[in-house]
């Protein structure tokens, strides 16, 4: 099985140094690009490869790059989105910490293809080890002449900077990320104009996920057809999948795109922990609908056909000894806290949902609550809010109401959570934040 993203990762988990990376063929893709390919050639290979963005939305990468206007203003920017804060997601960390140079090589090639002058890695605050590793790697690449002026004598110049965030999930949304990089509150921007035309500092900008960019060097080296054939389905390449929750061997693995959820959980994750049964799973992080069937191919189109989204491809498992209402309450607490607060349905609606779920957990659910939750799930769905955050937050809720409806009803009818020993103490019964929690540490959730 070919593993172009992780094959050279060291067993001890330490990052591959520049020398080690070069010894296994590192930066040969960049040399190939700079010694004869045009930006258009690179773009065509990436388009042909059918690579789709690994940040969650699955947008075709080559197509995205092609929207950068050829004769547009300068400087142009390439940004690596390394904000990985989607609950349940831990795939980019692996690449950042273990193969920093493959990411940097991918970024340089992507930057060349779109004619970028400056590039940034936008890294979340909490990845302290990754920050240290990426800093070292950028420095090594500069010293070796892969970054800076006249790269490898080609006449192409590219600067690269690491920006570490200050902690806010919405920074991962690409237009909010741009505002954050400009030193503003991370509030999403209206589209159009799309970042490809008017992005960072008003200049053409491409934002790509860590994993997406790591796919670029092997695509250049081995070709588009090779990349397409790595997959078991029509969505090309390999994918870093992960599984967490009550399974025997939680972890992350690079596998051909399109392995089934069953294989992931039963083979790679070693099956459920003894005494626990599978009830469902979020296939790709907190913002995806539950799947309750195991025989689903984990690619973009198959997961969509099964009623969810591949998202980040990192699975969170719900077992029979974990309360589905509590599970969703935890997710909505996250979304309530992390809403950027810009538009009303999301800012007001998600805390309300969280409060209803908390009440249910504490035995204070009321008969109309399920209707109310469903109304919210529709009202915050696609088209009603300023960005994709709120619709994402509704995905686990709406699917839980469908698949685990009896459990919601039981909470209300029995006036208790069948799974829980202690009440949820973050918030009181039907409403307001307990005073001692009003810390101002989290600006968006102090009402």
């Amino acid at each position: 099985m070919e593993k172009p993203l992780t094959q050279h990762i060291r067993a001890d988990g330490k990052p591959l140094s520049l020398n080690e990376y070069e010894r296994v063929g590192g930066y040969s893709a960049l040399r190939k690009v700079l010694s004869g390919m045009t930006p258009g050639d690179v773009l065509n290979v990436v388009k042909d490869s059918n690579l789709r963005g690994r940040g969650g939305a699955g947008f075709p990468t080559g197509l995205k790059w092609s929207f950068v206007p050829q004769d547009g203003p300068r400087p142009r920017y390439l940004i690596c989105n390394a904000d990985e804060m989607e609950p349940g997601t831990f795939k980019d960390r692996l690449l950042l910490e273990c193969t920093p140079h493959q990411l940097i090589e991918g970024m340089i090639i992507a930057a060349f293809a779109i004619g970028a002058d400056v590039s940034y890695v936008f890294l979340r605050w909490a990845y302290r080890e990754a920050a240290r590793i990426i800093n070292v790697a950028i420095h090594e690449a500069q010293e070796a002449g892969y970054l800076g002026r006249n790269i490898l004598g080609s006449g192409y110049d590219l600067a690269m900077h690491l920006h570490t965030g200050a902690g806010r999930y919405i920074c991962g949304e690409e237009t909010a990320l741009l505002n954050s990089l400009e030193g503003k509150r991370a509030i999403p921007r209206a589209k159009p104009p799309f970042p490809q035309v008017s992005g960072l500092f008003g200049k053409p900008t491409i934002v790509n996920n860590v994993e997406t960019l790591c796919c670029i060097p092997p695509i250049i080296t081995h070709g588009a057809e090779w990349f397409r054939k790595l997959s078991l389905t029509s969505d090309a390449g390999t994918k870093i999948y992960g599984v967490s929750g009550k399974v025997k061997k939680p972890g992350a693995w690079e596998l051909p795109m399109g392995v089934s959820l069953r294989e992931l959980i039963e083979e790679y994750a070693g099956g459920m922990l003894d005494g626990h049964k599978f009830r469902g799973a979020l296939p790709g992080g907190a913002s995806t609908d539950f799947l309750v069937e195991l025989d689903v191919k984990m690619d973009y189109s198959s997961v969509a056909a099964a009623g969810s989204r591949l998202g980040t491809g990192t699975v969170v498992v719900l077992d029979d000894r974990t309360c589905p209402v509590g599970f969703v309450r935890n997710l909505e607490q996250f979304f309530a806290q992390e809403s950027c607060g810009f538009c009303t349905p999301c800012r007001e609606g998600i805390p309300w949902i969280r409060n209803i779920l908390t009440a249910m957990e504490n035995g204070e659910g009321m008969p109309g609550d399920i209707d109310l939750l469903e109304r919210h799930a529709r009202g915050l769905g696609p088209g009603h809010t300023f960005c994709a955050f709120a619709p994402g937050a509704m995905e686990p809720l709406q699917s839980a109401l469908r698949f685990f409806r009896d459990d919601f009803i039981r909470h209300i009818e029995e006036h208790t959570c069948p799974w829980r020993e202690h009440p949820v103490n973050d918030h009181n019964s039907r409403g307001f934040v307990v005073p001692h929690l009003q810390t101002n540490y989290h600006a968006a959730d102090t009402h």
Binding site: G245, K246, G251, T314
Partner: protein, 154 residues
């Protein structure tokens, strides 16, 4: 007043962006690293140095989870409270911390040693539950491990 060290670090951040104000998040982080938190006084100083209004800077400072506009203890405990850690029992860690240190979310111990905050997913879900203390990540934490972990932070 900014120290020479702070100015050096802030200037480095300014050099990576087209205008001063764009470096404000980094500047806040630099000052917070040196002083623990962002007081009104620090806020005014940084705003002046970046040639932006104090209110503008405060709107940014209060937006981000990890910019502290209130004093914190010498060590900040960030307990992951997201889904995989919840499934794997992070609530027990919170309880143990509450029993052991007498603090809950948003509170600081009386001796000013620790502040406890919840934090969204730390991205190490296969090793849940997880927490960070200052810059250090701890994985697969059990309540029994907490005391010895905490003792490293004086």
């Amino acid at each position: 007043m900014l120290t020479r060290e702070e100015i050096l670090e802030i200037d480095r951040a300014i050099s990576a962006v087209p205008y001063r104000k764009a470096a404000c998040i980094e500047a806040l982080k630099v000052v917070q690293t040196h002083r623990g938190w962002i007081s009104d006084e620090s806020l005014r100083t940084v705003a002046g140095y970046l040639e932006m209004s104090v209110d503008d800077l405060d709107s940014v400072a209060t937006f981000y989870n990890l910019i502290f506009r209130k004093p914190v203890g010498r060590h900040v405990i960030l307990l992951c409270d997201s889904i995989s850690c919840w499934v794997m029992g992070y609530e027990q860690l919170r309880e143990r911390l509450r029993d052991h240190l007498g603090i809950d979310y948003g509170e600081t111990t009386a001796d000013g040693r620790y502040t406890l905050l919840p934090n969204p997913c730390l991205g190490t879900c296969d090793c849940a539950p997880a927490l960070m203390i200052d810059n250090d990540l701890y994985r697969k934490v059990t309540p029994e491990m907490l005391e010895s972990i905490l003792s490293k932070y004086l």
